[in-house]
Symmetry: C2
Subunit: 497 residues, 2 copies
């Protein structure tokens, strides 16, 4: 899920100057409207060490009217606070209606730290998260607007940052033993953060993940997100709640992620390398899938991607290596009557594999947040809440020991039109191209935005999205089969440990 | 919370015959409307052994059109089921839109049984409940109507039932070792059930607790509840969701509880006994409260009751025994401006006692589900969700080791008017009687209904409601001070263990 914040975003000084002036004006305007609204705004700024939390908060304070905004920096609890239930310190600092409270150090700080330092186990963490969700639900039921931003830095960036600080005599003092200790725990921290963010991203209180290496980028991104969320909330209040329920939630920050644009589509394999590697990995997969069957561990492989991105071809190369008695390929088209008479996840529960079996989905439940979102087949609330429904669905499978791997096959627009044209010239592939395919192309940007958000919200270490550079089919097929082999190997290693 | 189902409800045969015929006709009518609605209905019948689950389900099947209703009786999972994630068996049996699925043996069965038999710990149970809540939330977001009924039998009734069965040669075989074992675990079972019901009673999927000793009563109560819930859901669907949000949820079963009517208001103490006992318990309380202070364990005492029920007098008798430095009495009137600018629970978090202190509330957060409900000051969704908000609030206190005890002081209408008149004649008490008091009297039945539901939804073994027969002030005061003493003693015993 943090992939979206490891792309090296930066903002030029001149751009920053212009955008921040505009942002500031709009923030002040919306604050003046907020003052008379019967709800408060909570902004939580959290994230990794060195992610620039302090800088972002300082910028927010510069931009906004601090008469109606308060920064709440919570360190270790006071005597007074320790003598009361742990949420007391948060309740006493909650902003009044019409005002904004910015939390640095929030109800998230302790549970994350305690879990990373192994002071609490996973069940205890889960219980902390229930209480957090209850609190946020209660506030949001009372119309409080909750904005949560997570500032992320990749490990290398964190190392570089500490090195740079240590090198400079003027900043050397800022590097403490605790910083070094935290760096050693980076991977644990990210694992816990992923879990916490996944389980506390609700439609009414979603997390925004922001790359923290460039302060101009991160402060502008947070600032604009804050602006849009407040503008929308005020609008919803003024126009009545029923209008609000139909309004599309703001996601304008998400499109800046450019997760797909960051892929290197020039990656390719020549035919002879492809053949060699295909033989190697098909052999490996054959062996591994027999072991998985013996261990009664099922797999679910999800294929999503642009039209003509090569899903079918990639799936064929996988199943060539497997025993037809033990896998099934399910192509998801329009639901049947019977399926339509149930919850949208029902058809996927139906096909749940028995122990040891492999189920390959050519398109999947992610249609809810892709085609159904973009084509307006699902209402905004429906696809918005689908992220957590899907995460819960996959967690039920993970808890049962099922291996999940999800592939997004990415090609660019030029490659797609080339393939469409080629297909139209090959008689047995003509049926694959319809007018709808051309129509879908027109919504490329909307789909791209939806894909970005989907990966940000549903890619977890246990159920990851693999983005596959698929302009070259050979490269894509090998990347996929290799990734599945590695996943199976890892699972089998864990079993045998 | 099970108090409401231990009152000895019965229904006469002739009444049953008449009512069930009427019920049947209405159930068939609503089923014919349901057929064309785009949502399904899930009915969960659960409860204690011998609570008559089978009987109730048989009656439902007799009354309704079984072409559009299916009973799903789930025993131990099959091979097929064990090879899939545990919820698979529920998903495969979910009713299609327009139809009804009646579950006996549901997603609640395993978690409760495993916890009672100590196969899972409390954190693991909590995690099961999260998954259940997620499932019900997901279904209800998809407009599925979820109706949950819990059939309760008090321990004595369960013993009598087993004895009766064992005595009759024709039914002796029905009493198994398992029954006897279950009876031995009755208290554990009830404790777990209380927790499960509390944490899974949501506004969209509340539990109805039904007394199970008389099958005519229980089947009629369940049948009428099912009817009303479906009627309301269909109505909401036909009239649009915004109308639905404003509609009052059905509670007609609740008024049958008669929890307050079951109190024996003739209980009294003569003056000399009162004086003796008061002296005894005040002495005891003085000592106990000093121990509690030393142990840094706070108390929260909540007083609710009819106007003129004697809350003030009872509170005075308590504090006479305590040190003024260590308690505070908080009278809850209309909120201040500042309080109004926050969530309704904020003012109560404010007064959270420091370690070892005692806070006595003369009226409390329960105003949300009493006066605010009855007078229409809170919207139905607001007071409906308040039950779980309040339970969570009190759980935060309990988790911190705070002792909570809640008193409902009950008098009857005649006694109230007597007291009003007496007050008007005593100059220094005249200010206590206003026109509003007379107006409130007119809503006695609405208040009674609200009190019944409040106790059913928020009385737990750790944070119980004590119903105080208060027609006689002496009796009431002693019952209260004694109960608080016992609660403190129990807490101190647990600490010293």
């Amino acid at each position: 899920m943090f992939e979206v914040a490891e792309l090296g975003h930066t903002v030029e000084k001149s751009v920053y100057r212009e955008k921040s002036a505009e942002l500031r004006a709009r923030l002040l305007t919306i604050q003046s409207q907020l003052k008379v609204c019967p709800f408060s705004v909570i902004i939580i700024i959290s994230g990794v060490d060195g992610g620039g939390k302090g800088d972002v908060i300082n910028r927010l304070n510069e931009w906004m009217d601090v008469h109606y905004m308060r920064t709440i920096a919570l360190g270790p609890p006071s005597d007074e606070e320790r003598e009361r239930p742990k949420f007391w310190r948060f309740w006493r600092t909650l902003p009044a209606k019409g005002t904004i409270g910015v939390y640095v150090g929030s109800w998230y700080s302790d549970p994350i730290a305690q879990r990373v330092y192994q002071k609490i186990d996973n069940n205890a963490l889960q219980n902390e998260l229930i209480q957090i969700n209850q609190l946020e639900q209660l506030l949001s039921d009372d119309n409080t607007l909750i904005i949560k931003c997570w500032l992320h830095l990749k490990k290398e960036a964190q190392i570089d940052r500490l090195k740079a600080l240590a090198k400079n005599p003027a900043t050397k003092w800022r590097v403490t033993d605790k910083d070094r200790q935290h760096l050693g725990l980076y991977d644990d921290f990210i694992g816990v953060a992923e879990q916490v963010l996944t389980e506390t991203s609700k439609a009414h209180a979603p997390w925004l993940i922001v790359e923290g290496s460039d302060i101009r980028y991160s402060s502008l991104t947070v600032g604009q997100h804050v602006l849009e969320r407040i503008e929308q909330h005020v609008l919803q209040y003024n126009n009545g709640l029923s209008a609000a329920a139909e309004a599309e939630p703001p996601n304008s920050r998400v499109e800046q992620y450019n997760l797909l644009d960051a892929l290197d589509l020039s990656l390719k394999l020549n035919k002879s390398d492809y053949r060699k590697q295909l033989e190697k990995y098909q052999g490996k997969l054959n062996e591994l899938s027999r072991h998985a069957l013996a261990a009664k561990r099922s797999s679910i492989l999800v294929f999503e991607g642009w039209d003509a991105a090569g899903k079918g071809g990639a799936i064929r190369r996988l199943i060539e290596a497997m025993d037809a008695r033990h896998y099934q390929v399910i192509s998801i088209a329009a639901p049947t009557d019977e399926e339509r008479a149930h919850h949208y996840l029902w058809r996927f529960w139906r096909h749940m594999p028995r122990a040891g079996q492999v189920t390959i989905y050519d398109r999947s439940w992610y249609g809810r947040v892709l085609v159904e979102r973009v084509e307006g087949l699902a209402k905004p609330q429906q696809w918005q809440r689908a992220y957590s429904e899907i995460v819960n669905f996959e967690e039920a499978m993970l808890a049962h020991g099922i291996v999940i791997l999800k592939f997004w096959l990415h090609i660019d627009r030029d490659e797609q039109i080339e393939r469409f044209k080629r297909r139209e010239q090959i008689s047995y592939k003509q049926f694959k191209i319809t007018e709808e395919d051309y129509r879908n192309r027109e919504k490329w940007d909307d789909y791209q935005k939806a894909v970005n958000e989907m990966i940000a919200r549903t890619s977890t270490s246990k159920s990851p999205w693999l983005q596959v550079e698929a302009n070259d089919k050979y490269y894509a097929r090998i990347k996929i089969i290799k990734a599945y082999c590695e996943r199976l190997e890892k699972m089998l290693d864990e079993i045998n440990k």
